[in-house]
Amino acid sequence: MTLAASASVIELGAFELTLAAVLVLVTGLVSVALRLGLEKRLAVAAVRTVVQLLLIGYILRYVFAMHSPWLLGVVVAVMLAVAAHAAVARTQVRVPGILSLSLLALAGSSLITTWIVTRLIIGVEPWYLPQYVIPLLGMILGNSLTGVSLALDQVLTALRDRRDEVEMELALGATRWEAARRPLREAVRRGMIPTINAMSVVGIVSLPGMMTGQILAGVDPMLAVEYQIVVMFMIAAATALGCIFAALLVYRRLFNAKHQLMAERIERRGG
């Protein structure tokens, strides 16, 4: 499969972008008229949108032009680090080293999935072709970080709040694995739910951004749909793997070789 642009794309220039800015300006005027008090934040957000997107546009153009596996590695590392941080930034409970745990889970799951998709399914040559690797990895991370975040929150909350249940099972002769599998299973399930929901309504309630983007760029809708199917499946696989890795890493951190639950390692956020 190749991304063949069958129709021509209508070019956008500075004038067209300025026209689009009028939309934001109107929104700002509405805010003033209705005294929403949002104009300042709206202005800042609009400027950020422009600056951030222009920046990433230049970076991507540079990276695409360089064709260097090393440069791709740097970009991937930054993406992973940001995603790992975002996945644990809002969890209510944490354990020491939760950031490295999140990084391991996300890196493991997203790199395996990206490799399968780019090498085995799409057959990208050379393997480091950044116009495939970066957007695919980006979509995978954007979705699996939500799953990993939910799974981490669920497993840590369960092990803290239901410590009694886990220790009851340990006291009755359960191995650490036997005592932990109920909370671990719940965590993976919780992390998977948003992805499964998204898969069930895709195309009906939501038209995915990538697909609409390809269609706008003049790609045949059927080809765009084929890509979207691959993307949905790869997101599901990456999220499942990410949640499983996260749950297993928490398990390893909180249960020791003596089959004890070290619940005192779980701390409330800020505590």
């Binding site: 006291a171 009755l172 359960a174 191995t175 003596k258 004890q260």
Partner: protein
């Protein structure tokens, strides 16, 4: 049978030392009551003996074996803790009683008739199909005890087993435990705060006052 050697007990992080140099051998057939001022660390001691938390010093052996040598799940299968606060899954009484029989460390099979018998002896006439969490606190505590007894551990570590029971049910419990230790060549170590009743019913008493690391905060009642 159960040998406790030079055991120290600590809790919390950073660790607060609760007891030092506790040595005691518990023989098969013994029913021992653990007493001590409240806050002395009876619960922590029982959790330490069961291997749920580590002692700063000392050893616990069952017929010469430690958790390290035979594996902690197997050790806890033999030296079994029943916590004061009953913990039951959101399921029927029967499902709760049968649950641990799925563990690898348990060789026996769940026997429904035996389970009914144990419940009846503990004064629980409730049907096995009942939702376990709908039972009263005292009833739940006895279901937890029955769950442990069905696994036939050599040592039962009981944390305030009679706390939620009336006089009659408590006496019934004592009779059941006495019968258990004799029938299965086992021992019971039960933490009790009601010293008088504890003295009256048990064979022996293990008073923790002598082993406390810090002076007790409250005088013993």
């Amino acid at each position: 049978m159960l040998e406790i050697t030079d055991l120290s007990v600590a809790t919390g992080r950073p660790a607060v030392m609760l007891m030092r140099d506790l040595s005691r051998t518990i023989e098969a057939g013994q029913y021992i009551t653990l007493t001590g001022p409240s806050g002395a660390g009876k619960t922590t001691l029982l959790r330490t003996i069961a291997g749920l938390i580590d002692p700063p010093a000392g050893q616990i052996r069952l017929d010469g074996a430690t958790g390290e040598t035979i594996g902690w799940p197997r050790f806890r299968r033999q030296v079994m803790l029943v916590a004061q606060h009953p913990v039951l899954l959101d399921a029927t009484v029967e499902q709760n009683l049968a649950m641990p029989f799925a563990y690898r460390s348990v060789e026996r099979r769940f026997d429904r008739a035996e389970a009914e018998q144990v419940l009846a002896r503990l004064g629980l006439g409730e049907p096995m199909e009942r939702d376990a969490r709908s039972l009263s606190q005292g009833q739940q505590q006895r279901v937890c005890l029955a769950r442990a007894m069905l696994l036939r551990p050599r040592v039962l570590l009981l944390d305030e087993p009679a706390a939620a029971l009336d006089e009659q049910a408590a006496n019934q419990l004592d009779a059941v435990l006495r019968r258990y230790v004799h029938a299965h060549d086992a021992a019971v170590l039960a933490a009790r705060h009601d010293v008088d009743r504890a003295m009256h019913n048990a064979d022996e008493r293990l008073d923790l006052t002598a082993y406390l690391a810090a002076p007790a905060l409250e005088p013993q009642r």
